[in-house]
Symmetry: C2
Subunit: 232 residues, 2 copies
Amino acid sequence: MATLKLYELAGADPARLLSPYCWRVRFALAAKGLEAETIVWRMTERDRIAAHGAQKVPVLLHGERAVAESFGIAEYLEDTFPDRPSLFGGAGGRALARFVNGWAEATLMAGLARLIIADIPKVLTPEDAAYFRATREPRFGMALERVQEDRETKVEAFRQAIHPLRMTLRSQPFLGGDAPLQADAIAFGPFQWARVTSPFRPLAPDDPVEAWRQRMLDLHDGMARRVPAFYD
Amino acid sequence: MATLKLYELAGADPARLLSPYCWRVRFALAAKGLEAETIVWRMTERDRIAAHGAQKVPVLLHGERAVAESFGIAEYLEDTFPDRPSLFGGAGGRALARFVNGWAEATLMAGLARLIIADIPKVLTPEDAAYFRATREPRFGMALERVQEDRETKVEAFRQAIHPLRMTLRSQPFLGGDAPLQADAIAFGPFQWARVTSPFRPLAPDDPVEAWRQRMLDLHDGMARRVPAFYD
């Protein structure tokens, strides 16, 4: 089989893999039983992935082929390795995973950003930290510290916003049902991003979403638990 | 085959079938190619369904058996008629349809209620209108008219909240992918409830969600379009 390599965003510590999108791909690879070498990448190293036609990570190299964007990579793996365990559980699961992907972007990523974004530069290389601040502050129209101000209060709105996830996890252990699917990795990625970059805990200890997050950390021999992080 | 009958909530006009949950079941039946007689029901007729162990509609009678709750009925139909077109598109699609169900409850039903709830009593029987107001106003802690006050402004927050649906429908015509699945019916039900009970339009004409809503109205020979409503 052609070699698999994955460009993954790291902090100053190259073991601190922090991209929620790269984590989704790591879970897809693990679910398919595939090994892929990590190519540590930093935000200010655009040139290194531009050669593959990409502007952001994840970028998966499969032999001569480069595939970008986490959902597209999961679909590529599903279609390229159809005899291995399914990432989507059928055509309906693949279609609805796109909805989970959109929900995770609008609700989880946007919601968590407002709780942790000023902590992120602290774990990046100096170059990436400056780049991160310079690109994100104009988007928010304010200092990163302002964005996450009053997070002890704002966390309640986040917990309310993720109620659909909680409702589902009350009736089944994973979004995918009795066993995880890529939809679980899609929703887990943002929570992994948060624990790897910030000490602030977005979930209450007794939240069913927290219990699911722990189950996700346990998957694949604790793959996601082993990375440097602020809490389990 | 044993006869199918469905208890469905109607307004003062027995043709004005308005329950979002009953509409989900109507779509599930149509997707399976099944006919079911409508038993018109009103909110104040609790005794009529209590005999079937239910407190709310939909209640599906299949011969001697009664099945309640829209998601449970869809699962019952999927499992009872496995050789007919699938409502879920596989195990993954069934699991994730539960997430769509939770999202629709928290985001669509709750969001639309704040835009239309004071209009609902106007289409109900006098008995149901009084019952509806007496049971809903304590939940909101205010008059129904207060709940939907400033809806011309509040509709923007609703349109923002449904962005995950919009994102998905930008990349595929239905939540289910190229063809609709029960997840589409789950998300459509609340919009059908809104158009049957209120003249207020929650979607902008150029919204991809509006285009999808029209596709849903076209399904099964315009089944959902034919009911009395305030707009198409």
